[in-house]
């Protein structure tokens, strides 16, 4: 895309973009660190994740201020308008990803108190997928690649399916080991957090796609594969698996 005739306008947009990218990177780091803390039951690491979330909150506010300045000074239209509006929405979504990572860290602190319990492997797989979604969607944003954004958008399905499987796995373990139900409930919630991170990444993908192409991907068209909030799992239908 050609540069603006007014260089300062380009600088303002570049600054805004830099904040969004930084937030994406931080959210990814937070997710990785939270999962590491969980795997190692490392309360120190978990505490670091918990505190680092403030950075994302601060950056979100910084982005908001930068966007308001662009609105006030430049009255952006067309691609610039989409860019600024999407930045505002994206930073909100990325900040939420950070909240989910922080929540994982908080649960890690709680779980660690109860003594080590094997973390279901499926959670690692979910975290890996969610991380890849964040990486790819930020890559799509930085490199203005609508196809990559679309690919992330479509990949949410796989994470939803993993979540369904995590839900059932953890529930099965609850039935087998009722004394561990407290810890396992935290795992259940961590699975939900990871699934939600994927949702946010998908929403970011929609924003990236809109910024680049001007086309809104319709929320309704995205297939929802998360069954955990609509189905009742019992011992019987778990056995039928």
């Amino acid at each position: 895309m050609n540069d603006h005739i007014v260089k300062a306008y380009d600088h303002e947009l570049r600054d805004l973009r830099a904040i969004v990218s930084r937030m994406g990177g931080l959210a990814e780091d937070q997710l990785v660190a939270a999962m590491q803390a969980l795997a190692e039951f490392d309360t120190e690491k978990a505490e670091i994740v918990r505190n680092a979330d403030k950075q994302l909150d601060a950056l979100e506010i910084e982005a908001e201020k930068a966007a308001i300045v662009v609105f006030a000074r430049r009255a952006p239209v067309a691609d610039d308008l989409r860019e600024v509006v999407s930045s505002l929405k994206m930073t909100g979504l990325i900040e939420r990803m950070g909240d989910y990572a922080k929540n994982i860290a908080k649960r890690t602190l709680a779980v660690s108190e109860m003594g080590p319990v094997a973390v279901p492997q499926v959670l690692d797989q979910m975290a890996k997928d969610a991380r890849k979604m964040i990486q790819d969607v930020m890559d799509a944003y930085v490199h203005r690649n609508p196809d990559l954004a679309m690919a992330v958008w479509e990949r949410d399905e796989a994470l939803d399916n993993l979540h369904n499987s995590a839900y059932r796995t953890i529930l099965a373990r609850m039935m087998e080991t009722p004394d561990k139900i407290g810890v396992l409930t935290h795992f259940l919630m961590i699975a939900k957090n990871l699934e939600r991170i994927g949702d946010q990444a998908t929403n970011v993908a929609e924003q990236v796609y809109y910024t680049i192409t001007g086309v809104m991907l319709e929320e309704a068209r995205r297939p929802k594969h998360d069954l955990t909030s609509t189905e009742l799992v019992t011992e019987e239908n778990l056995d039928n698996e």
Binding site: N2, H4, I5, V77, A78, D79, V215
Partner: protein
Amino acid sequence: MLKMATEFENMTDVRTAKMSAKDVHVFYGDTHAVKGISLDLHQDEVTALIGPSGCGKSTFLRCLNRMNDTVTTCRVEGTITLDGENIYDPKIDVVQLRARVGMVFQKPNPFPKSIYDNVAYGPRIHGLAQHRTDLDEIVTTALEKAGLWNEVKDRLDSPGTALSGGQQQRLCIARAIAVNPEVILMDEPCSALDPIATAKVEALIDELKGRYAIAIVTHSMQQAARVSQKTAFFHLGDLVEHGDTTEIFTAPKEERTRDYITGRFG
């Protein structure tokens, strides 16, 4: 994938155009200023014509009420119709045409006469009023429609030129609508006005759009976005893009349109 833009593209405009330009070319001597432009103006709708200086938008606008007739080197080709009737037909009475297709210029240009006479001039020469009371009625209504009545009702005998710039421009609009036009052409009507006067003219354009087909040439992108329902982007004599204003200002299809409205090097 369903794409919002496509929905608009597929919506065929079945309305009958108030004015319709088909393949209009304008030459000033050897200069080809307007290159085959087709564009419809509709009742109840404001069309903004935007584009860099020299892109042909004002030239095109001036073709719509044959203002270019007075330029000896100017040659207009193609068809322009008003309610289906060719306005360049030799049978057309140009004075009558200009009453039906009124024009408001960049610089307010009231006659050096009273406020009353500025508005009454058109109806008088077109014989729209039999009696003084009819004329009073026309003047009052036109000033009311132009949102100027309350500001001038006590000094209708004062010279029009004594009003502020914004008031003068609204007086010119009152003068244009006093002869019951069907189309109003505006050539940068606010470029000499301050933001308050501009807002008043824009509010007036909103009011008027229910009754007239309006075309406005403007260099202010924000003004085009604010007042129009359709936007036409001209560049080097071509009509690059024409569509819903909301579409043009959120997701233009042409790179040249984007570069122009976002202030990029093109």
